[in-house]
Amino acid sequence: MDTAQPHAGVHIENVSKSFGPDGARTLVLNHVSLSIKMGEFVSVIGPSGCGKSTLLKAVAGLLPVDSGTVMVDGMTVAAATKNKMIGLVPQSPALLPWRTVLDNVRLPMTVNPKANANRNLRDPQEILESFGLGAALDKYPGQLSGGMQQRVAIARAFVFDPSVLLMDEPFSALDEMNRDQQRLGLLDFWQSNRKAVMFVTHSVPEAIMLSDRIVVMGAHPGHIAEIIDVPLPRPRTIDVYATDEFRDLEGHVRSTLREVMGQKSA
Protein backbone atom coordinates (compact mmCIF):
# COMPACT_ATOMS: atom_id res chain seq x y z
CA MET A 1 0.00 0.00 0.00
CA ASP A 2 2.72 2.44 1.01
CA THR A 3 4.82 1.53 -1.97
CA ALA A 4 2.10 2.93 -4.19
CA GLN A 5 2.62 6.44 -2.89
CA PRO A 6 5.07 8.28 -5.09
CA HIS A 7 6.62 10.19 -2.18
CA ALA A 8 7.00 7.29 0.22
CA GLY A 9 10.52 6.78 1.51
CA VAL A 10 13.47 9.13 1.77
CA HIS A 11 14.39 11.69 -0.88
CA ILE A 12 17.68 13.48 -0.51
CA GLU A 13 18.26 16.07 -3.19
CA ASN A 14 21.35 18.12 -3.77
CA VAL A 15 22.23 18.29 -0.12
CA SER A 16 25.35 20.19 0.85
CA LYS A 17 26.66 20.73 4.33
CA SER A 18 29.78 22.37 5.70
CA PHE A 19 31.15 22.80 9.18
CA GLY A 20 33.30 25.42 10.79
CA PRO A 21 33.30 29.17 11.27
CA ASP A 22 32.61 31.52 8.36
CA GLY A 23 35.67 31.91 6.22
CA ALA A 24 37.15 28.59 7.31
CA ARG A 25 34.33 26.22 6.47
CA THR A 26 35.06 22.69 5.34
CA LEU A 27 32.62 21.14 2.95
CA VAL A 28 31.52 17.77 4.29
CA LEU A 29 28.66 16.91 1.93
CA ASN A 30 28.83 18.08 -1.65
CA HIS A 31 25.56 17.91 -3.63
CA VAL A 32 24.45 14.53 -2.42
CA SER A 33 21.30 13.08 -3.94
CA LEU A 34 19.81 9.74 -2.97
CA SER A 35 16.37 8.17 -2.84
CA ILE A 36 15.35 5.27 -0.64
CA LYS A 37 12.04 3.72 -1.59
CA MET A 38 9.56 2.41 0.90
CA GLY A 39 10.62 -1.08 1.89
CA GLU A 40 14.09 -0.68 0.49
CA PHE A 41 17.27 -1.42 2.44
CA VAL A 42 20.13 0.87 1.48
CA SER A 43 23.61 0.73 3.00
CA VAL A 44 26.05 3.61 3.00
CA ILE A 45 29.72 2.72 3.07
CA GLY A 46 32.85 4.79 2.69
CA PRO A 47 36.11 5.84 4.30
CA SER A 48 36.12 7.32 7.77
CA GLY A 49 35.24 11.00 7.81
CA CYS A 50 33.51 11.01 4.42
CA GLY A 51 30.28 12.28 5.91
CA LYS A 52 28.15 9.16 6.38
CA SER A 53 27.04 10.11 9.87
CA THR A 54 26.51 13.69 8.77
CA LEU A 55 24.18 12.53 6.00
CA LEU A 56 22.31 10.27 8.39
CA LYS A 57 21.94 13.07 10.92
CA ALA A 58 20.62 15.36 8.23
CA VAL A 59 17.93 12.81 7.40
CA ALA A 60 17.17 12.38 11.11
CA GLY A 61 16.64 16.11 11.45
CA LEU A 62 19.51 16.40 13.91
CA LEU A 63 21.59 18.65 11.65
CA PRO A 64 20.33 21.44 9.42
CA VAL A 65 21.69 21.31 5.87
CA ASP A 66 23.16 24.32 4.07
CA SER A 67 21.37 23.69 0.81
CA GLY A 68 19.25 21.06 -0.87
CA THR A 69 16.23 19.24 0.51
CA VAL A 70 15.54 16.13 2.52
CA MET A 71 12.00 14.75 2.35
CA VAL A 72 10.52 11.82 4.23
CA ASP A 73 7.27 10.43 2.87
CA GLY A 74 6.73 13.68 1.04
CA MET A 75 7.20 15.79 4.18
CA THR A 76 10.05 17.93 5.37
CA VAL A 77 12.24 16.31 7.99
CA ALA A 78 10.87 18.66 10.63
CA ALA A 79 7.30 17.57 9.89
CA ALA A 80 8.38 13.92 9.75
CA THR A 81 9.99 14.02 13.20
CA LYS A 82 6.94 15.79 14.57
CA ASN A 83 4.89 12.82 13.34
CA LYS A 84 7.44 10.37 14.74
CA MET A 85 8.13 8.83 11.35
CA ILE A 86 11.85 8.32 11.85
CA GLY A 87 13.41 5.56 13.95
CA LEU A 88 17.04 6.05 14.92
CA VAL A 89 19.50 3.38 15.99
CA PRO A 90 22.69 5.14 17.03
CA GLN A 91 26.18 3.68 17.06
CA SER A 92 25.92 2.76 20.74
CA PRO A 93 22.69 1.31 22.12
CA ALA A 94 21.98 4.54 24.04
CA LEU A 95 19.54 2.90 26.43
CA LEU A 96 18.46 4.42 29.72
CA PRO A 97 20.39 2.37 32.29
CA TRP A 98 17.81 2.95 35.03
CA ARG A 99 14.93 1.54 33.00
CA THR A 100 14.16 -2.09 32.32
CA VAL A 101 14.46 -3.41 28.79
CA LEU A 102 10.68 -3.28 28.44
CA ASP A 103 10.46 0.31 29.69
CA ASN A 104 13.27 1.32 27.37
CA VAL A 105 11.31 0.00 24.43
CA ARG A 106 8.18 1.76 25.69
CA LEU A 107 9.98 5.09 25.63
CA PRO A 108 9.02 6.10 22.06
CA MET A 109 5.33 5.64 22.90
CA THR A 110 5.42 7.85 25.96
CA VAL A 111 7.42 10.59 24.28
CA ASN A 112 5.51 12.94 21.96
CA PRO A 113 2.24 10.99 22.46
CA LYS A 114 0.30 13.33 20.17
CA ALA A 115 1.88 11.56 17.21
CA ASN A 116 0.59 8.17 18.36
CA ALA A 117 -2.81 8.59 16.73
CA ASN A 118 -3.61 6.56 13.62
CA ARG A 119 -0.57 4.40 13.66
CA ASN A 120 0.17 0.79 14.03
CA LEU A 121 1.96 0.86 17.40
CA ARG A 122 3.47 -2.49 18.23
CA ASP A 123 3.29 -4.31 21.49
CA PRO A 124 6.71 -3.73 23.13
CA GLN A 125 6.68 -7.12 24.74
CA GLU A 126 5.83 -8.90 21.52
CA ILE A 127 8.51 -7.08 19.56
CA LEU A 128 11.13 -7.90 22.20
CA GLU A 129 10.10 -11.53 22.11
CA SER A 130 10.50 -11.60 18.35
CA PHE A 131 14.01 -10.24 18.86
CA GLY A 132 14.74 -13.15 21.18
CA LEU A 133 14.65 -10.99 24.29
CA GLY A 134 11.56 -12.50 25.89
CA ALA A 135 13.55 -13.57 28.93
CA ALA A 136 15.16 -10.17 29.37
CA LEU A 137 12.06 -7.96 29.60
CA ASP A 138 12.57 -7.04 33.24
CA LYS A 139 16.33 -6.89 33.13
CA TYR A 140 18.30 -3.69 33.07
CA PRO A 141 20.61 -2.78 30.18
CA GLY A 142 23.67 -3.22 32.39
CA GLN A 143 22.77 -6.91 32.75
CA LEU A 144 22.74 -7.57 29.01
CA SER A 145 25.53 -8.33 26.57
CA GLY A 146 26.43 -5.71 23.99
CA GLY A 147 24.61 -7.61 21.27
CA MET A 148 21.44 -7.89 23.33
CA GLN A 149 21.57 -4.18 24.17
CA GLN A 150 21.85 -3.34 20.49
CA ARG A 151 18.82 -5.52 19.76
CA VAL A 152 16.88 -3.61 22.39
CA ALA A 153 17.89 -0.38 20.64
CA ILE A 154 16.63 -1.79 17.34
CA ALA A 155 13.37 -2.90 18.95
CA ARG A 156 13.00 0.61 20.33
CA ALA A 157 13.36 2.03 16.83
CA PHE A 158 10.82 -0.37 15.32
CA VAL A 159 8.21 -0.32 18.06
CA PHE A 160 6.40 2.89 17.14
CA ASP A 161 6.07 1.91 13.51
CA PRO A 162 8.15 4.63 11.86
CA SER A 163 8.29 4.68 8.08
CA VAL A 164 12.03 5.19 7.97
CA LEU A 165 14.80 3.55 9.94
CA LEU A 166 18.21 5.14 10.24
CA MET A 167 21.06 3.06 11.62
CA ASP A 168 24.57 4.34 12.17
CA GLU A 169 26.94 1.39 12.42
CA PRO A 170 24.74 -0.35 14.96
CA PHE A 171 26.89 -3.47 15.07
CA SER A 172 30.31 -1.87 14.98
CA ALA A 173 30.97 -2.40 18.68
CA LEU A 174 30.25 -6.12 18.51
CA ASP A 175 32.68 -8.90 17.82
CA GLU A 176 32.51 -10.57 14.45
CA MET A 177 30.61 -13.70 15.54
CA ASN A 178 28.00 -11.74 17.40
CA ARG A 179 27.60 -9.38 14.48
CA ASP A 180 26.61 -12.08 12.06
CA GLN A 181 23.90 -13.19 14.43
CA GLN A 182 22.62 -9.63 14.80
CA ARG A 183 22.60 -9.06 11.04
CA LEU A 184 20.48 -12.12 10.46
CA GLY A 185 18.15 -11.14 13.26
CA LEU A 186 17.69 -7.68 11.82
CA LEU A 187 17.17 -9.07 8.34
CA ASP A 188 14.60 -11.54 9.62
CA PHE A 189 12.64 -8.86 11.35
CA TRP A 190 12.85 -6.36 8.54
CA GLN A 191 11.65 -9.03 6.11
CA SER A 192 8.24 -8.91 7.76
CA ASN A 193 8.34 -5.16 8.55
CA ARG A 194 9.56 -3.57 5.38
CA LYS A 195 10.62 -0.05 6.24
CA ALA A 196 12.84 2.23 4.23
CA VAL A 197 16.23 1.65 5.84
CA MET A 198 19.40 3.70 5.66
CA PHE A 199 22.20 1.70 7.18
CA VAL A 200 25.68 3.15 7.68
CA THR A 201 28.43 0.56 7.91
CA HIS A 202 32.16 -0.01 7.54
CA SER A 203 31.81 -3.65 6.64
CA VAL A 204 31.54 -4.73 3.02
CA PRO A 205 30.05 -8.18 3.72
CA GLU A 206 27.53 -6.60 6.06
CA ALA A 207 26.46 -4.12 3.39
CA ILE A 208 26.02 -6.87 0.80
CA MET A 209 24.25 -9.25 3.16
CA LEU A 210 21.64 -6.70 4.17
CA SER A 211 21.07 -4.32 1.30
CA ASP A 212 19.14 -3.85 -1.88
CA ARG A 213 21.58 -1.15 -2.87
CA ILE A 214 24.97 -0.05 -1.58
CA VAL A 215 25.94 3.60 -1.69
CA VAL A 216 29.70 4.05 -1.82
CA MET A 217 30.78 7.48 -0.64
CA GLY A 218 34.07 9.28 -1.19
CA ALA A 219 35.63 11.99 0.94
CA HIS A 220 36.98 15.54 0.62
CA PRO A 221 34.29 16.60 0.16
CA GLY A 222 31.80 13.82 0.87
CA HIS A 223 30.02 12.68 -2.27
CA ILE A 224 28.38 9.60 -3.67
CA ALA A 225 30.90 7.76 -5.82
CA GLU A 226 28.77 4.83 -6.94
CA ILE A 227 25.52 3.10 -6.15
CA ILE A 228 25.76 -0.67 -6.48
CA ASP A 229 22.70 -2.89 -6.86
CA VAL A 230 22.61 -6.09 -4.84
CA PRO A 231 20.39 -8.48 -6.78
CA LEU A 232 20.78 -11.40 -4.35
CA PRO A 233 17.41 -13.09 -3.77
CA ARG A 234 15.61 -12.65 -0.45
CA PRO A 235 15.13 -13.96 2.14
CA ARG A 236 18.85 -14.34 2.60
CA THR A 237 20.64 -16.72 4.92
CA ILE A 238 24.27 -17.13 5.85
CA ASP A 239 24.65 -19.34 2.82
CA VAL A 240 24.85 -16.27 0.57
CA TYR A 241 28.34 -15.61 1.90
CA ALA A 242 29.50 -18.66 -0.01
CA THR A 243 27.91 -17.83 -3.36
CA ASP A 244 29.79 -16.59 -6.42
CA GLU A 245 27.48 -13.60 -6.75
CA PHE A 246 28.41 -12.55 -3.25
CA ARG A 247 32.11 -12.76 -4.04
CA ASP A 248 31.70 -10.81 -7.25
CA LEU A 249 29.79 -8.11 -5.45
CA GLU A 250 32.37 -8.00 -2.70
CA GLY A 251 35.08 -7.52 -5.30
CA HIS A 252 33.09 -4.77 -6.94
CA VAL A 253 32.45 -2.85 -3.72
CA ARG A 254 36.01 -3.22 -2.55
CA SER A 255 37.49 -1.97 -5.81
CA THR A 256 35.17 1.04 -5.77
CA LEU A 257 36.25 1.74 -2.19
CA ARG A 258 39.89 1.50 -3.21
CA GLU A 259 39.33 3.95 -6.03
CA VAL A 260 37.55 6.31 -3.67
CA MET A 261 40.41 6.12 -1.24
CA GLY A 262 42.85 6.91 -4.01
CA GLN A 263 44.70 3.61 -3.99
CA LYS A 264 45.71 1.56 -6.97
CA SER A 265 43.09 -1.00 -7.79
CA ALA A 266 44.59 -4.46 -7.31
Binding site: K82, K84, A94, P97, V111, M177
Partner: protein, 295 residues
Protein backbone atom coordinates in the same frame (compact mmCIF):
# COMPACT_ATOMS: atom_id res chain seq x y z
CA UNK B 1 30.96 -23.22 3.19
CA UNK B 2 33.75 -22.63 5.65
CA UNK B 3 32.27 -19.29 6.53
CA UNK B 4 28.81 -20.61 7.22
CA UNK B 5 30.14 -23.33 9.47
CA UNK B 6 32.10 -20.80 11.40
CA UNK B 7 29.01 -18.72 11.89
CA UNK B 8 26.98 -21.63 13.15
CA UNK B 9 29.60 -22.49 15.65
CA UNK B 10 29.82 -18.89 16.80
CA UNK B 11 26.11 -18.61 17.13
CA UNK B 12 25.93 -21.59 19.41
CA UNK B 13 28.72 -20.31 21.64
CA UNK B 14 27.23 -16.89 22.04
CA UNK B 15 23.81 -18.44 22.65
CA UNK B 16 25.05 -20.51 25.55
CA UNK B 17 26.85 -17.58 27.08
CA UNK B 18 23.70 -15.49 26.87
CA UNK B 19 21.84 -18.32 28.57
CA UNK B 20 24.43 -18.50 31.31
CA UNK B 21 24.01 -14.81 32.03
CA UNK B 22 20.27 -15.26 32.15
CA UNK B 23 20.38 -18.17 34.55
CA UNK B 24 22.82 -16.50 36.85
CA UNK B 25 20.80 -13.35 37.26
CA UNK B 26 17.30 -14.85 37.26
CA UNK B 27 18.25 -17.29 39.99
CA UNK B 28 19.60 -14.66 42.31
CA UNK B 29 17.65 -11.56 41.37
CA UNK B 30 18.91 -8.10 40.60
CA UNK B 31 20.00 -6.80 43.96
CA UNK B 32 21.66 -10.02 45.00
CA UNK B 33 23.64 -11.02 41.98
CA UNK B 34 26.54 -13.39 42.68
CA UNK B 35 28.77 -10.36 42.35
CA UNK B 36 26.92 -8.51 45.10
CA UNK B 37 27.06 -11.52 47.40
CA UNK B 38 30.77 -11.83 46.78
CA UNK B 39 31.16 -8.15 47.57
CA UNK B 40 29.23 -8.54 50.81
CA UNK B 41 31.45 -11.42 51.82
CA UNK B 42 34.45 -9.30 51.06
CA UNK B 43 33.06 -6.46 53.20
CA UNK B 44 32.60 -8.83 56.12
CA UNK B 45 36.04 -10.38 55.91
CA UNK B 46 38.57 -9.03 58.37
CA UNK B 47 41.01 -7.86 55.72
CA UNK B 48 38.46 -5.24 54.69
CA UNK B 49 37.73 -3.61 58.02
CA UNK B 50 40.71 -4.55 60.17
CA UNK B 51 43.21 -2.02 58.70
CA UNK B 52 40.91 0.90 59.51
CA UNK B 53 40.17 -0.41 63.01
CA UNK B 54 43.87 -0.84 63.71
CA UNK B 55 44.52 2.74 62.57
CA UNK B 56 41.83 4.05 64.92
CA UNK B 57 43.17 2.04 67.85
CA UNK B 58 46.68 3.36 67.26
CA UNK B 59 45.42 6.93 66.94
CA UNK B 60 43.43 6.61 70.18
CA UNK B 61 46.43 5.19 72.00
CA UNK B 62 48.67 8.03 70.78
CA UNK B 63 46.00 10.52 71.83
CA UNK B 64 45.76 9.01 75.27
CA UNK B 65 49.54 9.01 75.80
CA UNK B 66 49.78 12.65 74.64
CA UNK B 67 46.84 13.68 76.81
CA UNK B 68 48.32 12.13 79.93
CA UNK B 69 51.68 13.81 79.27
CA UNK B 70 50.07 17.22 78.53
CA UNK B 71 47.02 17.55 80.79
CA UNK B 72 46.46 21.24 79.86
CA UNK B 73 46.52 20.75 76.10
CA UNK B 74 44.08 17.94 75.35
CA UNK B 75 41.84 15.85 77.59
CA UNK B 76 42.12 12.11 77.95
CA UNK B 77 39.54 10.00 76.20
CA UNK B 78 37.99 8.83 79.45
CA UNK B 79 37.55 12.46 80.61
CA UNK B 80 35.68 13.22 77.40
CA UNK B 81 33.60 10.09 77.79
CA UNK B 82 32.72 10.93 81.43
CA UNK B 83 31.64 14.43 80.42
CA UNK B 84 29.42 12.97 77.70
CA UNK B 85 27.78 10.56 80.18
CA UNK B 86 27.36 13.05 83.01
CA UNK B 87 25.94 15.86 80.92
CA UNK B 88 24.18 13.70 78.37
CA UNK B 89 21.09 15.90 78.63
CA UNK B 90 22.90 19.11 77.79
CA UNK B 91 24.79 17.55 74.93
CA UNK B 92 21.63 16.02 73.53
CA UNK B 93 19.78 19.36 73.61
CA UNK B 94 22.64 21.16 71.91
CA UNK B 95 23.01 18.42 69.36
CA UNK B 96 19.34 18.74 68.49
CA UNK B 97 19.76 22.48 67.93
CA UNK B 98 22.73 22.01 65.61
CA UNK B 99 20.97 19.10 63.96
CA UNK B 100 17.95 21.27 63.26
CA UNK B 101 20.16 23.97 61.75
CA UNK B 102 21.84 21.41 59.53
CA UNK B 103 18.54 19.83 58.56
CA UNK B 104 16.71 23.02 57.66
CA UNK B 105 19.73 24.83 56.23
CA UNK B 106 21.03 21.91 54.21
CA UNK B 107 17.68 20.86 52.77
CA UNK B 108 16.81 24.38 51.67
CA UNK B 109 20.29 24.83 50.21
CA UNK B 110 20.07 21.51 48.41
CA UNK B 111 16.61 22.18 46.99
CA UNK B 112 17.44 25.75 45.98
CA UNK B 113 20.72 24.64 44.38
CA UNK B 114 19.05 21.87 42.39
CA UNK B 115 16.13 24.00 41.23
CA UNK B 116 18.39 26.84 40.16
CA UNK B 117 20.57 24.30 38.34
CA UNK B 118 17.51 23.09 36.43
CA UNK B 119 16.60 26.65 35.47
CA UNK B 120 20.16 27.38 34.37
CA UNK B 121 20.43 24.12 32.43
CA UNK B 122 17.20 24.78 30.56
CA UNK B 123 17.70 28.50 29.95
CA UNK B 124 21.27 29.46 29.19
CA UNK B 125 20.43 33.12 29.53
CA UNK B 126 19.61 32.52 33.18
CA UNK B 127 23.04 31.05 33.73
CA UNK B 128 24.63 34.10 32.15
CA UNK B 129 22.46 36.35 34.25
CA UNK B 130 22.78 34.68 37.64
CA UNK B 131 26.06 32.76 37.71
CA UNK B 132 28.34 35.81 38.16
CA UNK B 133 26.34 36.91 41.20
CA UNK B 134 26.42 33.40 42.64
CA UNK B 135 30.20 33.28 42.22
CA UNK B 136 30.62 36.66 43.90
CA UNK B 137 28.59 35.51 46.89
CA UNK B 138 30.45 32.24 47.09
CA UNK B 139 33.96 33.71 47.10
CA UNK B 140 32.97 35.94 50.02
CA UNK B 141 34.25 34.17 53.16
CA UNK B 142 31.30 32.71 55.01
CA UNK B 143 32.98 33.57 58.32
CA UNK B 144 32.73 37.21 57.31
CA UNK B 145 29.10 37.00 56.25
CA UNK B 146 27.92 35.33 59.45
CA UNK B 147 28.36 38.35 61.82
CA UNK B 148 26.64 40.60 59.27
CA UNK B 149 23.70 38.21 59.20
CA UNK B 150 23.50 38.31 62.99
CA UNK B 151 23.18 42.09 62.81
CA UNK B 152 20.39 41.70 60.29
CA UNK B 153 18.50 38.75 61.78
CA UNK B 154 19.46 38.68 65.45
CA UNK B 155 20.67 35.76 67.54
CA UNK B 156 17.82 33.40 66.65
CA UNK B 157 17.94 30.45 64.27
CA UNK B 158 17.51 32.45 61.04
CA UNK B 159 21.15 33.49 60.49
CA UNK B 160 22.22 29.90 61.16
CA UNK B 161 19.79 28.52 58.61
CA UNK B 162 21.02 31.06 56.07
CA UNK B 163 24.72 30.40 56.62
CA UNK B 164 24.20 26.63 56.42
CA UNK B 165 22.07 26.93 53.30
CA UNK B 166 24.65 29.21 51.67
CA UNK B 167 27.57 26.82 52.07
CA UNK B 168 25.50 23.91 50.78
CA UNK B 169 24.04 25.81 47.87
CA UNK B 170 27.15 26.28 45.76
CA UNK B 171 28.43 22.69 45.46
CA UNK B 172 24.87 21.56 44.83
CA UNK B 173 24.32 24.09 42.08
CA UNK B 174 27.59 23.45 40.30
CA UNK B 175 27.35 19.66 40.45
CA UNK B 176 23.69 19.46 39.49
CA UNK B 177 24.27 21.79 36.57
CA UNK B 178 27.12 19.64 35.30
CA UNK B 179 24.95 16.54 35.70
CA UNK B 180 21.95 17.99 33.92
CA UNK B 181 24.18 18.99 31.00
CA UNK B 182 26.22 15.81 30.76
CA UNK B 183 23.64 13.49 29.24
CA UNK B 184 24.49 10.90 26.63
CA UNK B 185 24.47 12.62 23.22
CA UNK B 186 23.21 9.56 21.41
CA UNK B 187 20.28 9.07 23.75
CA UNK B 188 19.53 12.74 23.26
CA UNK B 189 19.59 12.18 19.47
CA UNK B 190 17.06 9.37 19.84
CA UNK B 191 14.80 11.64 21.91
CA UNK B 192 15.12 14.44 19.36
CA UNK B 193 14.15 12.28 16.42
CA UNK B 194 11.00 11.45 18.40
CA UNK B 195 10.39 15.17 18.70
CA UNK B 196 10.53 14.97 22.48
CA UNK B 197 9.66 18.21 24.22
CA UNK B 198 12.12 19.82 26.59
CA UNK B 199 9.95 18.68 29.46
CA UNK B 200 10.01 15.08 28.19
CA UNK B 201 13.78 15.19 27.79
CA UNK B 202 14.09 16.49 31.33
CA UNK B 203 11.64 13.96 32.73
CA UNK B 204 13.00 10.89 30.97
CA UNK B 205 16.68 11.68 30.56
CA UNK B 206 18.18 14.67 32.35
CA UNK B 207 16.62 14.30 35.79
CA UNK B 208 17.72 10.76 36.57
CA UNK B 209 20.84 11.14 34.45
CA UNK B 210 22.03 13.99 36.65
CA UNK B 211 21.84 11.94 39.86
CA UNK B 212 25.46 10.69 39.88
CA UNK B 213 26.57 14.32 39.89
CA UNK B 214 23.92 15.34 42.41
CA UNK B 215 25.17 12.70 44.82
CA UNK B 216 28.76 13.77 44.25
CA UNK B 217 27.58 17.28 45.16
CA UNK B 218 25.80 16.02 48.28
CA UNK B 219 28.95 14.32 49.42
CA UNK B 220 30.70 17.65 49.44
CA UNK B 221 27.72 19.66 50.66
CA UNK B 222 26.61 17.66 53.71
CA UNK B 223 29.88 17.88 55.67
CA UNK B 224 29.98 21.57 54.71
CA UNK B 225 26.51 22.00 56.21
CA UNK B 226 27.91 21.04 59.62
CA UNK B 227 30.79 23.47 59.12
CA UNK B 228 28.26 26.17 58.26
CA UNK B 229 26.10 25.52 61.31
CA UNK B 230 29.11 25.42 63.63
CA UNK B 231 30.59 28.63 62.23
CA UNK B 232 27.25 30.43 62.57
CA UNK B 233 27.10 29.35 66.20
CA UNK B 234 30.65 30.51 66.89
CA UNK B 235 29.70 33.96 65.71
CA UNK B 236 26.30 34.15 67.37
CA UNK B 237 25.87 31.78 70.26
CA UNK B 238 22.28 32.88 70.86
CA UNK B 239 19.75 31.53 73.33
CA UNK B 240 19.48 28.20 71.59
CA UNK B 241 23.23 27.47 71.80
CA UNK B 242 24.17 24.34 69.84
CA UNK B 243 27.35 22.27 69.70
CA UNK B 244 29.35 25.04 68.00
CA UNK B 245 28.47 27.49 70.77
CA UNK B 246 29.34 24.85 73.33
CA UNK B 247 32.81 24.56 71.79
CA UNK B 248 33.47 28.32 71.95
CA UNK B 249 32.11 28.75 75.45
CA UNK B 250 33.93 25.73 76.87
CA UNK B 251 37.17 26.65 75.12
CA UNK B 252 37.01 30.18 76.55
CA UNK B 253 36.73 28.61 80.02
CA UNK B 254 39.54 26.18 79.18
CA UNK B 255 37.15 23.32 79.86
CA UNK B 256 38.88 20.73 77.76
CA UNK B 257 36.54 17.73 78.23
CA UNK B 258 33.44 19.74 77.23
CA UNK B 259 35.23 21.32 74.26
CA UNK B 260 36.33 17.99 72.92
CA UNK B 261 33.12 16.18 73.70
CA UNK B 262 31.26 18.78 71.59
CA UNK B 263 33.80 18.42 68.80
CA UNK B 264 33.38 14.65 68.92
CA UNK B 265 29.60 15.03 68.61
CA UNK B 266 29.96 17.36 65.61
CA UNK B 267 32.18 14.71 64.06
CA UNK B 268 29.62 12.03 64.87
CA UNK B 269 26.93 14.05 63.12
CA UNK B 270 29.08 14.21 60.02
CA UNK B 271 29.67 10.47 60.07
CA UNK B 272 25.93 9.83 60.44
CA UNK B 273 25.09 12.14 57.54
CA UNK B 274 27.67 10.61 55.24
CA UNK B 275 26.59 7.07 56.10
CA UNK B 276 22.95 7.90 55.44
CA UNK B 277 23.96 9.44 52.15
CA UNK B 278 25.86 6.31 51.16
CA UNK B 279 22.79 4.19 51.92
CA UNK B 280 20.46 6.39 49.89
CA UNK B 281 22.97 6.55 47.07
CA UNK B 282 23.05 2.79 46.84
CA UNK B 283 19.28 2.67 46.48
CA UNK B 284 19.02 5.50 43.98
CA UNK B 285 22.16 5.02 41.92
CA UNK B 286 22.40 1.25 41.65
CA UNK B 287 22.42 1.65 37.88
CA UNK B 288 25.40 3.98 37.66
CA UNK B 289 28.15 1.95 39.27
CA UNK B 290 28.94 0.14 36.05
CA UNK B 291 30.54 1.92 33.16
CA UNK B 292 27.15 3.24 32.05
CA UNK B 293 26.77 6.84 33.21
CA UNK B 294 28.43 9.37 35.42
CA UNK B 295 31.68 9.05 37.21
Amino acid sequence: MRKSQKTNLDRSTSDTSALAVQNASSATGRRFSPLATAKLKQNLSWSTWAPAVITFVIAAALWQVTAIANPYVIPTIDQVWLSLINDADTYWKNMLVTGLEVLVGASSGIIAGFILAIIMAEFQIMERAIMPLVVVVMVTPIVAIAPALVVAFGFGMTPKFIVTALVVFFPMLVNSLAGLRDVDDRTLDVMKTLHASRWEIFRDLRFTGSMPYVFAGLRIALPLAIVGAAVAEFVAAGQQAGLGSLVTIAAAQANLPVTWASIALLCLMGVILISMLALVRKRVLWWSDGAAVGR
